[in-house]
C-alpha cells in the first residue's frame, strides 16, 4: 500500500489525466482495478469545445498535443461517467480545469458530496482568461489562490498538478502547499512547437502545443528531485515513463507514485506490465516502497538488481 496523504493506492501506477479519457474505452483493454488509481480527463464546469485539428504532432521521442482540454463538462461527468467508474474499486481521481479561480471553487463544490471520488487533481496549466491567457500555473500567487479556493470546498485529498514551464518549480510547489495541497503531481507538458517545412505552417492548428513522452523525462525527473529535496509533501511523478525502470527513477527521485500518459496512447497494455514488473522488482530486491521513495534525495544508495 502506498499512502499519499490519506489516498491509498495498492501500487504506484496511475493513469495520467487526458490520456485515458473517463475509463470506458481503456476498460476494454486493461483491468482498471489492477491500477493504483485512475485519473480522469481534465473536466470543467461547462463543456469545453477544444481546439481545431490538427491536434497532435510527433517529435523525436515525443509528441505535441493541443487538444485544448475538450471535455463534456462536470455535469456530464457526474451523470454519465462517474456511475460507470463506480463499478470499479480503483480509486478515482478527478482532474479539474477552470478559466477563473471561481470556476475551480465551483467545480470542487459540485464534486464534494459525490460518492466514488477519491481525490481531486487541480490542473493549473490552464489559460487564465482574466489575466490575458497566461497560465495559472506559472504564477505562484495564482497557484496559491486556486489551491485555496479548491481547498475551502474539498475535504478529501487534494492534488495540485504543476506546470513545468516555470523558472522555479520549488517556488510554485511551495505556493500550492501553502494553499492547502496535500500532494503535488508533475509534470504537465512542456510548451513546444513543430513546423511543416513544406508550407511553413505550424503542424498544430493552434501553433504551440504541449510536449510529452520520453523526450521530457529528464526534465520531469529533475523537477521531482528538486521538489523532493526542498519540500515535505508527497509527490506523483510523470513525464515520459515507458518502462518500470523509468518508474523506479521517479520513485528514487522522490515520487510516491507515478502516472503514465503518452505511453498508454501507444501501448495501453503496458499499464498492466508495469504493475507486474514493478512488483517483481520490489520482491526480488526485498525492499519496501518506503525505502525506495526518495532514496536518491537522501543519498541512501544501494545495490539493486
Amino acid at each position: 500500500m502506498i499512502n499519499l496523504a490519506g489516498l491509498e493506492l495498492k501500487n504506484p501506477i496511475m493513469t495520467a489525466s487526458g490520456t485515458a479519457g473517463y475509463g470506458r474505452e481503456l476498460a476494454n483493454l486493461v483491468d482498471l482495478d489492477s491500477l493504483g488509481a485512475f485519473v480522469v480527463k481534465g473536466t470543467s464546469l461547462e463543456p469545453w469545445v477544444g481546439n481545431p485539428p490538427i491536434r497532435v504532432a510527433e517529435t523525436a521521442s515525443g509528441m505535441l498535443n493541443s487538444i485544448g482540454l475538450q471535455n463534456p463538462g462536470v455535469g456530464h461527468f457526474i451523470s454519465y461517467d462517474l456511475p460507470f467508474l463506480r463499478q470499479f474499486s480503483v480509486p478515482v481521481i478527478v482532474n479539474i480545469v477552470g478559466r477563473s479561480v471561481d470556476e475551480y471553487a465551483l467545480l470542487a463544490k459540485r464534486l464534494k458530496d459525490m460518492e466514488g471520488i477519491a481525490a481531486l487533481e487541480v490542473n493549473v496549466s490552464c489559460p487564465n482568461v482574466k489575466e490575458g491567457g497566461l497560465s495559472f500555473g506559472q504564477d505562484p500567487l495564482l497557484v496559491k489562490e486556486v489551491t485555496e479556493a479548491v481547498r475551502e470546498n474539498w475535504d478529501k485529498p487534494l492534488i495540485v498538478k504543476l506546470s513545468p514551464n516555470v523558472t522555479n518549480i520549488v517556488e510554485i510547489g511551495r505556493a500550492a502547499k501553502e494553499g492547502g495541497a496535500d500532494v503535488l503531481s508533475l509534470i504537465n507538458t512542456l510548451r513546444g512547437m513543430a513546423i511543416d517545412t513544406n508550407s511553413g505552417r505550424p503542424v498544430l492548428a493552434q501553433g504551440i502545443g504541449g510536449l510529452s513522452g520520453p523526450a521530457i523525462k529528464p526534465v520531469a525527473l529533475r523537477m521531482v528531485f528538486e521538489l523532493a529535496s526542498e519540500l515535505d509533501i508527497p509527490l506523483i511523478g510523470m513525464g515520459g515513463i515507458q518502462s518500470y525502470r523509468d518508474v523506479l527513477e521517479f520513485m528514487m527521485a522522490g515520487a510516491s507514485a507515478v502516472a503514465i500518459g503518452t505511453a498508454v496512447l501507444r501501448t495501453p497494455g503496458m499499464l498492466i506490465e508495469l504493475v507486474r514488473e514493478l512488483e517483481y522488482w520490489r520482491l526480488s530486491n526485498g525492499v519496501a516502497w518506503e525505502d525506495i521513495i526518495g532514496l536518491t534525495v537522501r543519498g541512501e544508495y544501494g545495490e539493486f538488481r
Binding site: G18, T19, A20, G21, R24, E25, L26, N28, L29, K41, P47, V49, G50, N51, P52, P53, I54, R55, V56, E58, T59, A60, S61, G62, M63, N65, I67, Q70, G213, P214, V264, L265, R266, T267, P268, G269
Partner: protein, 256 residues
C-alpha cells in the same frame, strides 16, 4: 459493443502490388474474429532512432478471413515507409478492430451506392461487397487502381471504374459519374471514401438528389480508441472523434 484487443500479429505477406502501394496480410486471430466491415486497426509501426513513427498509424481492414486481416496501404511518410520493410514472420502490434462498423450507421444493401477515390477503396471495398450495392471507383491513373481479386472478384459487374487520365475505364473524376446514375437509379444511401475534395463533391451531389450521404473520414490519430481526442472532426456543435464516433459519418453530422 464488439470490443477490441491489443494483439501481437504475425506478418504473412507484404508485397508491392502497384508502385508505392502494398498489400499486407497478417495473422491476427482476435481482431479477424471481431472485425466487421468499416472498421480499422491502429498499428505500431517499426520506428527509426528518433522514435518516429512514435504514435500508432490507422489503416482500414480491407478484408478479413477467420484468422487473418488484409490491409492495403500507400507509402506516404516515415511510418508507411518503415512498414514496407516487414517480412513474413515479423511481428506487428495491432490494436483493433476499431471504429463503428458501417452497419451501425447504415445497413448496406443493394440500394447503397459506394464511391471510392484513390486509397478510399481500402476502407469501403468490404462493405460494398457485402451490400450487393454498386461501387464507383476512381483513381488518377491505371497504375494506381487496386484491382486485387478481393475487389474485382467480389464486385464483378457491380463496379464502374474511372481514371482521371482515361487510362482505364471512364475518363474523368469518379464524382462525374454520380449525377447520371442518381438521376436514373434509386439508391437511397451513398457511402463515400476518398480525398476531402471528393467527399465535398459527393455530399453536394447527394444532397442535390436528396439522398443520405455517408462519408468515411481520415484524420491523424493517437490512441485510436476514443480517449485522447486527437482525431477531432468539426461537427455542427464542437467536435466528434473520427476513431470512435466514426470513421463513417452521416454527412450532416460533420462539417467538412
Amino acid at each position: 459493443m464488439a470490443g477490441y484487443v491489443e494483439e501481437e500479429a504475425r506478418v504473412l505477406v507484404n508485397i508491392e502490388i502497384n508502385p508505392g502501394i502494398y498489400h499486407l496480410k497478417i495473422e491476427a486471430k482476435e481482431i479477424a474474429k471481431k472485425w466487421q466491415p468499416g472498421q480499422f486497426v491502429n498499428l505500431l509501426l517499426p520506428a527509426g532512432m528518433d522514435g518516429i513513427p512514435f504514435l500508432r498509424r490507422p489503416f482500414s481492414i480491407f478484408m478479413a478471413s477467420k484468422t487473418e486481416i488484409g490491409i492495403v496501404y500507400r507509402v506516404v511518410g516515415r511510418g508507411t515507409d518503415n512498414l514496407t520493410q516487414l517480412v513474413k514472420g515479423d511481428s506487428l502490434n495491432c490494436l483493433g478492430p476499431l471504429g463503428v462498423p458501417i452497419k451501425r450507421k447504415i445497413e448496406p444493401s443493394a440500394t447503397t451506392l459506394f464511391v471510392a477515390g484513390g486509397m478510399g477503396i481500402a476502407s469501403i471495398a468490404a462493405s460494398a461487397i457485402y451490400s450487393g450495392g454498386m461501387l464507383l471507383y476512381g483513381a488518377r491513373t491505371e497504375s494506381e487502381l487496386i484491382l486485387l481479386p478481393e475487389v474485382t472478384g467480389g464486385l464483378a459487374e457491380r463496379m464502374l471504374i474511372s481514371t482521371e487520365d482515361g487510362s482505364f475505364g471512364t475518363k474523368g473524376l469518379v464524382t462525374d459519374l454520380l449525377p447520371a446514375i442518381l438521376a436514373v437509379e434509386d439508391y437511397t444511401g451513398i457511402v463515400a471514401c476518398g480525398p476531402r475534395g471528393m467527399l465535398k463533391r459527393v455530399k453536394e451531389i447527394g444532397e442535390r438528389y436528396n439522398r443520405s450521404v455517408y462519408l468515411v473520414i481520415e484524420e491523424r490519430m493517437a490512441c485510436g480508441i476514443g480517449t485522447c481526442l486527437a482525431c477531432a472532426i468539426k461537427a455542427p456543435e464542437g467536435y466528434l472523434r473520427v476513431c470512435k464516433d466514426g470513421p463513417i459519418f452521416l454527412a450532416q453530422e460533420i462539417v467538412l
